[in-house]
């Protein structure tokens, strides 16, 4: 499987965030950032830390991109086979910024087999509840089989 290094992906996300303004024309970023078939080489980091670091970079980029590009990027990563990319989206949504389709992405990821991703979804749904970002995710995760996920959802409720 082809891979992209975490450092390279973070650099690309930073460039994306810095280059994107509402007035600019669509950015050609269809490389390692949107090619979700590339697995993330997280080097010495574990999955959770890699997803948190990438999530912060992704949040900055999503906040600066035009709505359509942001939705495309978030949905592509949410559907990725690599759990690091999926976890990064869930972690990114814990930061507050507008995203068309955020509730749909959270609803999808809240059914992820990885409990760490579901836990990040619970936190993100909590943050985004006031802006309509929770389509019943917290209610569902309050009865999650994983105790850590359940605790976050119950605390939010």
């Amino acid at each position: 499987m082809r891979k992209v290094s975490l450092k390279r992906l973070l650099t690309k996300l930073t460039v994306l965030a810095l280059a994107a303004t509402p007035a600019t024309t669509p950015i050609a970023y269809a490389d390692e950032v949107t090619d979700v078939k590339l697995a993330v080489d997280r080097e010495h980091l574990n999955d959770t830390d890699a997803a948190i670091v990438l999530g912060r970079g992704l949040a900055l980029a999503l906040d600066r991109l035009r709505p359509l590009e942001a939705t495309h990027l978030a949905s592509s990563w949410a559907l990725a086979a690599d759990p690091v990319r999926r976890g990064a989206v869930a972690n990114a949504l814990e930061w507050m910024f507008p995203l068309v389709g955020d509730a749909l992405v959270l609803d999808h990821l809240s059914r992820d087999p990885d409990p760490k991703i579901r836990a990040a979804c619970a936190r993100a749904a909590w943050v985004r509840r006031s802006t309509g970002g929770d389509l019943g995710v917290l209610d569902r995760l309050a009865s999650d089989p994983d105790p850590a996920v359940r605790a976050i959802a119950e605390q939010a409720g």
Partner: protein
């Protein structure tokens, strides 16, 4: 480049894979129905429309895009991918597809494409919106 006929065949297969019988035999890891979307549907390869006019090709493709049969996030992902495509036929096709199904983000896509540099795409938006 992908021939129009091949693309339409793939869309037909994708639509058939979303029928209840097919969906029962194939579910995603999250238990959702699976529409078989291969690389040629989700890539940005230009469409070889042969002798067909661009608007007609876009209309036919758009009418056959099974957005309504897909799980909502996949539909949104496919629609945004096509809306950001460099091929104007794909961009116009997604506009026509949105006439019959509205995945989340449809309004954003139409707003975005209403300012498209290609008149083919802008005309499709006007036809679908009615203004």
């Amino acid at each position: 480049m992908i021939p129009l006929r091949r693309l339409l065949c793939k869309l037909a297969v994708a639509a058939l894979s979303a029928t209840p019988a097919a969906a029962a035999s194939g579910t995603s890891p999250f238990g959702e129905e699976v529409v078989d979307l291969d690389d040629e549907l989700t890539s940005d390869a230009p469409i070889d429309r042969e002798h067909i006019e661009p608007d007609d090709a876009a209309f036919v493709i758009g009418r056959n895009l099974p957005l309504g049969a897909m799980n909502p996030l996949s539909a949104t992902q496919l629609a945004t991918t096509w809306a950001l495509s460099s091929d104007p036929v794909r961009r116009a096709a997604i506009v026509y597809a949105l006439e019959h199904s509205s995945p989340l983000g449809a309004r954003t896509i139409l707003d975005h494409l209403s300012q498209d540099p290609e008149s083919l795409v802008r005309a499709a938006v006007v036809r679908v919106r009615g203004y």
